[in-house]
């Protein structure tokens, strides 16, 4: 298994690498286009700001590469949002793999703090990515923007509004939450991605 983590100017890349090591998988962290292209599976992590990240991907021509990948690709958090069409975060045109758009959370009450930080439950699970994961399992989220519900939604979460906890289209998967930080549930989800 040749597992590659895309290296770019975003956070949490090491955390993903360490999480894979915890479940006995090894991965290469790289921004080399040829190595990414030839990987069996690709993980596209990210914590950060959308326009800065997109500009960086474009400068390295990674934007063109990612959309053409044929092997399973897993975007995490910002990685997933960048795989959507558009993000309200600094009005950024993203990769357009998923039609769903990315919007800013609105503080509708005192209980809704932005960013959302913490554990929330995921439901309406419908993908091999959630093999052996129970409905309403808890995953760890840290984000101020969310992908709306749409035809590619494979898991739902509620934070003042219902939105996509995960997306899937063909070989592309994305999770808004951080499987690398979501205890044993997260490790199961990473294992499921490796098994796809």
């Amino acid at each position: 298994m040749n597992l590659v983590i895309i290296k770019y100017n975003a956070g949490n890349i090491q955390s993903v690498l360490f999480a894979l090591e915890r479940i006995g998988a090894t991965a290469t962290v790289t921004d080399d286009l040829d190595i990414i292209q030839s990987a069996d599976k690709v993980i596209f992590p990210g914590v950060g700001e959308a326009s800065t990240a997109m500009n960086y991907l474009k400068s390295k021509k990674m934007d063109q590469l990612i959309v053409k990948l044929k092997q399973p690709v897993l975007g995490i958090c910002l990685g997933m949002q960048l795989m959507c069409k558009y993000s309200e975060e600094n009005n950024t045109d993203c990769l357009g793999i998923f039609d769903e758009s990315v919007k800013k959370f609105i503080a509708s009450s005192n209980e809704i703090k932005i960013p959302q930080i913490g554990w929330n439950n995921i439901y309406h699970l419908q993908s091999p990515l959630f093999h052996q994961v129970q409905e309403n399992s808890f995953c760890y989220f840290v984000h101020g923007y969310y992908a709306s519900l749409g035809e590619h939604t494979i898991a739902t979460t509620n934070y003042g509004i219902e939105y996509s906890a995960a997306l899937n289209k063909n070989n592309f998967y994305g999770t808004q939450f951080h499987p690398e930080k979501s205890a044993s549930i997260g490790e199961q989800i990473l294992q499921n991605f490796i098994n796809i």
Partner: protein
């Protein structure tokens, strides 16, 4: 729905946990990895590692420890203690820390908060505030582990921190810390209901009802405690079950 969070805190010196720790089921009570992993397995929602090492070797020891923690622990963790520069934070995040807490260094140089938020994102910058209510009825900010009083009000500093980009406040009441008589509900509520970022309450936990109070009455987003967990006076699974029965949303 987002859960309330239970956060054990481990004090670290020279890479080892300090303060008496009383667990029969771990081999080495001084090993922060082993204790952290035990808490994670018991259902802790996050961990805080507070480094109190004072030697010149502390940076290297701490970054090695953080690297080791992130290889073995599968829940988010925050690292704090003596962090004073962008470079300090970069090294700790690169070694796998999820969040960094800053305290005295940020008070002495508030621009640091802005730099950290821009460089790494608000979500990983926690402002730790030690506060004490004086006889005048106001809550003041204290520095250097509570040894130095300032004339700045806790509310004002917390608000300024949020304006500068911190993503979370870790509020410790010195009046309550160590008393086991409950959290400081008043100042916690003031911050939790007025700030747009999550507030972690710390100091004073002694019973399970104290946690009910800090979540229900004071509206805290998370509660942190050390000795009651270390001495097994309250066990995390029992606490979470209790809070859940009281209608507080918990992760299991």
């Amino acid at each position: 729905m987002l859960t309330k969070r239970i956060i054990p805190c481990l004090d670290i010196k020279d890479g080892r946990t300090v303060k008496g720790i009383n667990f029969e089921n771990i081999r080495d009570a001084g090993d922060p990895i082993e204790l952290g992993a035990l808490y994670a397995a018991q259902g802790a929602d996050e961990l805080v590692f507070l480094d109190i090492t004072a030697t010149n070797e502390r940076r290297k020891t701490l970054s090695e420890l953080v690297n080791n923690i992130s290889h073995h622990i599968n829940i988010p963790f925050t690292v704090g203690g003596g962090i004073s520069s962008v470079e300090d934070v970069r090294v700790l995040l690169q070694n796998g820390a999820d969040k960094i807490s800053v305290n005295t260094s940020a008070f002495n140089n508030p621009a640091l908060l802005n730099q950290l938020a821009l460089e790494f994102g608000s979500q990983c910058i926690v402002l730790a505030i030690d506060t004490k209510m004086e006889p005048d009825g106001n809550w003041y900010v204290y520095l250097n582990g509570g040894r130095i009083k300032t004339n700045v009000l806790c509310n004002d500093w917390a608000r300024q921190g949020v304006d500068l980009g911190v993503g979370e406040i870790l509020l410790t009441s010195m009046n309550n810390d160590g008393t086991k008589k409950g959290f400081a509900l008043d100042i916690t509520r003031q911050l939790a209901t007025s700030l747009p970022v999550p507030v972690i309450a710390s100091g004073g936990a002694g019973t399970m009802d104290h946690f009910v109070d800090v979540f229900e009455d004071a509206r805290a987003d998370a509660a942190l405690a050390a000795s009651i967990f270390h001495y097994k006076e309250i066990e995390i699974p029992v606490l979470k079950q209790y809070l859940s029965k009281k209608g507080i949303f918990m992760r299991f």
